[in-house]
């Protein structure tokens, strides 16, 4: 039995003009301990896919099975790292993490919980900033808080929705290593959504491209057989790396071109007016 399984999952967003099928016929299996990356263009429905898996939204048809059970709600077993950090701005770093820990381990004593918070904040090397608010942190530091928050709940599976998308290249590299470190420590299952092919190849065991939406669906998968721990600099000369990288990029370019050639019609902009202030 697969650890996480998506069977013919479709998601349609209803609107006035009928509805748009964002995802159609998604089939995906992830085994326990695997690190899977899904790469795709922006707007191809990646975030919708993540929200389906973590239980924030329900599929229109098809099934999402987690350890054989259908996913109906969010769960502490699946930790999520959001694309835009989503830290609560009125809480300090420590309080943001504490809030998550307290929910995950409601029976533990306050001292124990504080200790867990301290550990995880130290793990992402933010101990000096534990009493700072998110606005006082840089983007990379904020994302590290989000990572600490997700991991402190000790989830079995980590779902990452473009976690490093907004960071600069250097910070991105550091955080990639940090995430890999944590993942390899106790071999949790991980799902990474990204728009960066290199990041996918560096981090994942398998890469699956997402064909852009509407009607997004998963493309053929690429297995990355590179021994861990991987080294970023030597990776550039690795034959498997080069081959996979070219294959994936070629595939993505092809579907990108395909999309361009069909979408030469002009779109009318929606008429938008500000929301009324009255109740």
């Amino acid at each position: 039995m697969a650890y996480l399984e998506l069977k013919n999952v479709c998601k349609t967003y209803e609107d006035a003009s009928g509805g748009t099928e964002v995802l159609s016929n998604i089939n995906l299996t992830i085994e326990e301990g695997e690190f899977v990356a899904i790469v795709g263009f922006t707007g191809s429905g990646k975030t919708t896919l993540v929200n389906l898996i973590n239980g924030l939204i329900k599929p229109t048809s098809g099934e999402v099975l987690f350890k054989g059970e259908p996913v109906t709600d969010t769960s502490h077993e699946r930790g999520v790292i959001f694309q835009n950090y989503s830290l609560l701005p009125w809480l300090t770093v420590g309080q943001n993490v504490y809030m998550a820990v307290k929910e995950a381990f409601p029976k533990e004593s306050k001292e124990k919980l504080q200790a867990i918070v301290k550990d995880y904040v130290a793990m992402v090397s933010l101990s000096p900033a534990i009493n700072k608010r998110p606005k006082e942190l840089s983007g990379g530091m904020r994302q590290r808080v989000a990572v600490a928050r997700a991991l402190a709940m000790n989830p079995e599976m980590i779902i990452m929705d473009e976690p490093l998308g907004a960071l600069d290249a250097l910070t991105r590299g550091n955080l990639q290593d940090e995430i890999l470190n944590i993942w390899s420590k106790d071999k949790r299952t991980a799902l990474l959504i990204t728009n960066d092919v290199d990041e996918g190849i560096y981090m994942a065991d398998r890469i699956i491209p997402l064909k852009p939406g509407p009607n997004a669906t998963l493309g053929p998968e690429f297995t990355i057989d590179i021994e861990r721990p991987r080294d970023k600099t030597s990776l550039n000369d690795n034959e498997t790396y080069k081959k996979n990288r070219n294959a994936i990029i070629e595939y993505l370019m092809d579907i990108g071109n395909e999309r361009k050639s069909v979408s030469n019609e002009t779109y009318e902009l929606p008429e938008i007016s500000p929301k009324s202030f009255v109740a």
């Binding site: 835009n84 202030f277 109740a279």
Partner: protein, 368 residues
Amino acid sequence: MKQSITLNKITQLMGFGFLKPITALFTGKPQKEDIVNFLKKIIVPLLSILLFLGVWQGGSTALFNKEANFKIEKALADQGQAAADEMRACIASGEISCQPNTLPSPSQVWASFKTLLEDHKVISADKLAFKEKTAVMNEKRIAAGKEPITYTGRPSFVDQIFTSLKTVFAGFLLALVIAVPIGVVIGLSTTLRSSFNWLIQIFKPVSPVVWLLLVFMIVKTLTKDSNSDSAFIISFISVGLCSMWATLVNTAMGVSSVDKDYINVAKVLKLGPMQKVFKVILPSSLPLIFTGLRITLSVAWMVLIAIELLAQSPGLGSFVWEEFQNGAIDSNSKIIVAMFIIGIIGFLLDRIMLTIQNMVSFNKNEGV
């Protein structure tokens, strides 16, 4: 330098940013642009105040002359030349009995202000003397189980200000206690929001006077068998009911428009419904709630005067009304003094709320 930084921070927080040029001028070395800033932000506003006083002085002189001429002409028409001359001399001599009753000049208002302060000193001294005189007797009365004798003389202007502040704070607290919880509940549920919307839309624009009458109808009956002071109760409830709508609408809007990201966090962490409200929804809507409270406090202060005036409840409103009815020679300038005091207190109340708001609020994009 450190001192000036904290000083700037405090003035900034209180919304007294316009004081920055002064602090910049007196702490540390004045730069050329500090001096330009000083001219721009201090001298020019001061000039505008002078201009205002000038226009006021000119206007009141013109009105005074018009009123005086009318009086003289009336005397001429009614009683002939001799009476008119007498009237002219009387006005020129500044005798109180024949002064024209019109808009007072700035200096008259300033004189009245000083009179009011003097009056306050006299009344305070009187009160203190009364207290001392009755202290022994009151002790005996309390020991005998009787009500102590209290001072029942005329309240001074300063006493009236404090009575008004008391009423406005009672009303504001009432508005807070009613509007915030209801706003949160309405904001959380679209069903409740649409079902109570008509009520809010209809009652929001109702005039303070009508609220007062409504509260009067209810409170009068409720306090039938107690002899407590119902004027205060009526006025603070009316103030609360008039002013709570801004907070209600703002709270409901703040709660209903919480960032989707925060709601997702609450869902992923699996917070319970109470925790979700108290740990995510309320903190994130605090800035809007405070905007509402700020509007509520200014509206409360604004309607208070009208309500006190009608409810015969002591305070600045009844002070203004009594002075107007009184018609003494300095009544008009006392009314203008009250006008400035009301304005300045309103401004200070708003600044206090702004300070609290700046302390609790955060930028919407800070967490992202």
